[in-house]
């Protein structure tokens, strides 16, 4: 039974590392940023600036974490 699951788990892990990499918080923050942008846009509030701000902030936090480890 364990063997049956080994391949799909390895496949999922490959794509996880391929797309998201070693800092999942950056991907999570981008996802949250896109959701918030969609919500603000539906309320007719200008929101194009939000994702670039999140990108710059998360990049800095991630670099800071990486340099500490």
């Amino acid at each position: 039974m364990e063997r049956i699951w080994r391949w799909p788990v390895a496949f999922a892990l490959f794509w996880y590392h391929f797309i998201i990499g070693d800092d999942w918080t950056v991907a999570a923050a981008v996802a949250v940023g896109l959701i918030l942008t969609a919500l603000l846009n539906s309320a007719h509030i200008t929101a194009w600036w939000l994702v670039p701000v999140i990108v710059i902030a998360m990049l800095g936090l991630s670099l800071r974490r990486a340099s500490k480890t």
């Binding site: 896109l34 194009w48 994702v51 670039p52």
Partner: protein, 241 residues
């Protein structure tokens, strides 16, 4: 619609980043174990990549442009941020140094007879694993920009040029500043990923397509700032000092 030149430059540079490592490994395997198994392995790897690009390209061309831009743009953004981050760290640490050759990475010499399956597998793995990221970028970028043909030309020409340079001047390939290229591509993917994912949400950018240039300048300035901070941190200064 994104300009042909942008698509060509981005896919060319992204492919060049991975092609440097791919060509270095393939040349190392060929030089130490012989060329027959190595070249057959590399050709088989390129065959697999071509199938992936064609199948994924056809599949993505069936998806409507709105959801495609949101989903693929978000993926490009997350993926591009990985390269952006690695590029900043590597340029801050090593400047414009190439990847270099590690003696421990070189495979043992082959003096046997018959087909060398070890050389085949090593070359095949190098081409498929390094090329998978290229295939991902070429397909997603080409589909989102509506320029699949241009994206494929950019990707293939980088592999051909880096491969050609590698054959003629083997050591030169290891001196190409791969970290800097990775940073440039990371910035480009993050720029287009940001632009497309928000367009997919129905957001109107101020200035339309011209805001791509604005994002590019913003992220380039960010890269410069973070490289300076990382260098100062490595030297023992705190960012606030």
């Amino acid at each position: 619609m994104t300009g042909v030149l942008f698509v060509l430059i981005t896919t060319f540079l992204a492919s060049a980043v991975e092609a440097i490592e791919m060509v270095t490994i393939v040349l190392g395997v060929g030089a130490t174990r012989g060329w027959r198994g190595t070249l057959v392995g590399a050709a088989a790897g390129f065959g697999v990549l071509a199938v992936i690009v064609v199948v994924a390209g056809i599949a993505l061309s069936q998806v409507p442009i709105g959801p495609l831009r949101l989903i693929v743009g978000a993926l490009l953004l997350v993926f591009g941020l990985q390269w952006f981050r690695k590029g900043v760290m590597r340029v801050a640490a090593r400047g414009l140094a190439g990847i270099g050759m590690h003696p421990e990475d070189e495979p043992p010499e082959w003096d046997g007879v018959g087909f060398d399956w070890t050389a085949f597998v090593l070359a095949f793995k190098a081409v498929v694993l390094e090329g998978l990221e290229v295939a991902f970028i070429v397909v997603s970028f080409g589909a989102n920009a509506g320029q699949m043909g241009v994206a494929v030309v950019g990707g293939v020409s980088a592999v051909v040029i880096i491969g050609g340079v590698g054959v003629v001047l083997q050591r030169l390939v290891t001196r190409i500043p791969r970290s800097l290229l990775q940073l440039v591509v990371g910035i480009l993917l993050t720029t287009f990923g940001t632009f497309w994912s928000l367009e997919g949400l129905g957001i109107e950018w101020p200035g339309g397509d011209a805001s791509i240039l604005g994002l590019l300048v913003l992220y380039m300035a960010t890269a410069g700032t973070y490289i300076t901070i990382e260098r100062r941190r490595a030297l023992g200064f705190s960012p606030g000092v």
